[in-house]
């Protein structure tokens, strides 16, 4: 029998339901795997081994009684450390929240706990989800399981690496400008960013509220479909959460994309994209055509403004959202003074890392008197133009295809210039600005490092993307490959 940690969620679920495998065995196999390889990968900020075994025993009771069985019951899952877990530290990769234990669960956690998952731990991330490499974690960088000297992408780098290394069967992250899709691309896993409003943000620590969205990582489209299904849908505690009905994603996996219209955005072939990435993506597009899709070029003329608009809007929202960290209610607090203002300023000086400070500064600047119209308002108008580009494209296409990231994983420490790091998200940012859904799927390798293929879909067309991704997996084997670096 193959190692338990290499099973898919669907294979493991089948064995659990037939009682050929216990949730405790499956969980122990993953905890053993974590013990063996996480000292090298460092995907976790916290391994919740005792809780995991307790949840596994609960899951086994469900299987014994035959009641309350869900496709994720007994499945070992990792959670990005930005999603609130009741009484379990939720650090956001920051000194500011190093010891913070939320008094409540995020809606997503409630749904996962109801399903009977086994949470194996909380995963490392760029501080407050700001970054593309997980190097901005206040604690330690995470390594890419495919090459330990390289970054796993970010900000959800720990969640992507945990799944790629077999330390969890699936995981959850958050995507504000590409923080699920880019690490998915760099770690050879499926990384899905749902439509804005598809998943509740209640209990997701806010970075940029008009852009943030929680989504899953998996080693197949089918597993991603189940992971997304479990968390999707209306929640009265998030007023931006949609009442739009959720499709049955598994049922939608027909295996065929015959006649599907897929557009290739002309503006996404930009200078700076590595030749190996371009080659892999072009080959994948040819493959989609051979599979029966109608492929044609499409123009998204305002693409070149994406990064600029994003780096006004996201920092502006962040500067407002992060005003709550004042050392009074929770989190790190500088107390070595009797002066209130000094205490506040020093709390934020010592509690936040450099990238977070940079973005707070950028956002506060863009929102300050005299610059609001020139920067913030203009960026929001450009956002409308980018959104219109997609609306027009989706009148003619079912999905769009592009690279997920301009490069393969780079070396830890290789990119030190902040703006160069921001360019990592050139292909992912527009989808967040427009609020549409997108996924990165394993699309081949360049010099032994994974290349992700990005599929973009219209709002609430998650089923279309999952169908394409699943059909693509039927004719490729990239998603089945395992790293030999561990």
């Amino acid at each position: 029998m193959t190692e338990l940690y290499k099973l898919s969620i669907h294979e493991a679920g089948e064995l659990l339901r037939q009682r050929k495998l216990s949730a405790v065995e499956l969980t122990q196999a993953h905890l053993d795997r974590i013990r063996a390889v996480d000292p090298k990968v460092k995907a976790f900020t916290l391994v919740t081994d005792e809780l995991a075994l307790q949840q596994a025993r609960e899951a086994d009771k469900r299987f014994a009684s035959g009641e309350n069985i869900h496709p994720l019951t007994g499945i070992p899952i990792a959670i990005k450390d930005v999603i609130c877990t009741k009484d379990i530290t939720t650090t956001c990769g920051s000194r500011m929240l190093e010891h913070f234990k939320p008094p409540f669960n995020a809606t997503v956690m409630e749904r996962l706990n109801d399903a009977g998952i086994v949470m194996v731990g909380k995963t490392n991330m760029d501080e407050f989800a700001m970054g593309s490499s997980t190097e901005h974690s206040a604690f330690f960088p995470t390594s890419n399981p495919w090459d330990l000297e390289r970054i796993p992408g970010g900000s959800s780098g720990g969640s992507a690496a945990a799944v790629a290394a077999g330390m969890a069967m699936g995981s959850y992250g958050s995507d504000t400008g590409g923080s699920i899709r880019q690490p998915g691309s760099l770690c050879n896993v499926v990384g899905f960013k749902p439509t804005y409003g598809r998943v509740s943000r209640y209990g997701l620590v806010a970075f940029a509220s008009s852009l943030d969205q929680i989504g899953p990582f998996a080693r197949s489209a089918r597993d991603a479909a189940t992971l997304l299904q479990t968390i999707a849908g209306y929640d009265h505690r998030d007023s931006t959460c949609s009442q739009e009905p959720v499709q049955d994603y598994i049922k939608g996996l027909s295996g065929s994309i015959k006649g599907m219209r897929i557009g290739v955005p002309e503006e996404y072939w930009v200078e700076g994209t590595q030749p190996g990435v371009v080659k892999a993506v072009r080959e994948n597009i040819d493959l989609l055509r051979e599979m029966g899709a109608e492929i044609s070029p499409v123009s998204l003329p305002h693409t070149k403004y994406g990064i600029a608009a994003y780096y006004i809007i996201a920092p502006a929202e962040a500067s407002s959202n992060l005003a709550r960290y004042d050392g009074v209610k929770y989190g790190y607090s500088y107390r070595d003074t009797t002066d209130m203002w000094e205490s506040l300023e020093k709390t934020r000086q010592y509690g936040f890392g450099p990238e977070v400070k940079r973005r707070i500064m950028l956002g506060a600047y863009a929102l300050s008197a005299g610059y609001y119209d020139a920067y913030y308002k203009r960026a929001e108008k450009v956002r409308t133009l980018i959104r219109n580009d997609f609306e027009q494209a989706f009148e003619h296409f079912d999905a769009l295809v592009s690279p997920a990231a301009p490069t393969v994983a780079f070396k830890i420490g290789e990119i030190s210039d902040p703006y160069q790091m921001y360019l990592q998200d050139v292909f992912t940012i527009p989808a967040n600005l427009a609020g549409i859904c997108g996924v990165s799927i394993p699309g081949g390798f360049s010099d032994g490092l994974p290349v992700g293929l990005q599929l973009l879909g219209n709002a609430f067309k998650e089923d279309v993307l999952l169908r394409i991704a699943d059909a693509f997996e039927q004719v490729t084997d990239y998603h089945t490959r395992w790293t030999s670096a561990l």
């Binding site: 409003g197 007023s239 108008k381």
Partner: protein, 96 residues
């Protein structure tokens, strides 16, 4: 160009303490980033209304139904300092 004075003013607005070194590096880094962002000036936004939110929803209303909340001890469990179920902070007003 973001000079030292601008950095200090913005830091003050954000209540963000900065070291001398940070004031210098943020000045040059923010200048470089804003240099790239200037591309927004090329976009023709005449007659375009701003998008504040990717959600297709506006003015979401719900029934205002009272629900039980958390006990104070639970909400104060993460507080750096507290007394008698109140958050404790430094004096805000000087004694006259």
């Amino acid at each position: 160009m973001i000079d030292r004075e601008t950095v200090q003013n913005v830091a003050k607005l954000a209540r963000l303490g900065l070291s001398e070194e940070e004031i210098d590096t943020f000045g040059s880094q923010l200048s470089a980033i804003l240099g790239h962002i200037q591309i927004l000036e090329e976009a023709d936004v005449s007659g375009v209304s701003p998008t504040a939110h990717a959600s297709r929803l506006t003015s979401v209303m719900r029934e205002d139904v009272p629900e039980p909340s958390y006990p104070p001890e639970v909400l104060l469990a993460n507080a750096p300092d507290q007394e008698d179920n109140y958050l404790k902070v430094n004096a805000i007003l000087e004694e006259g």
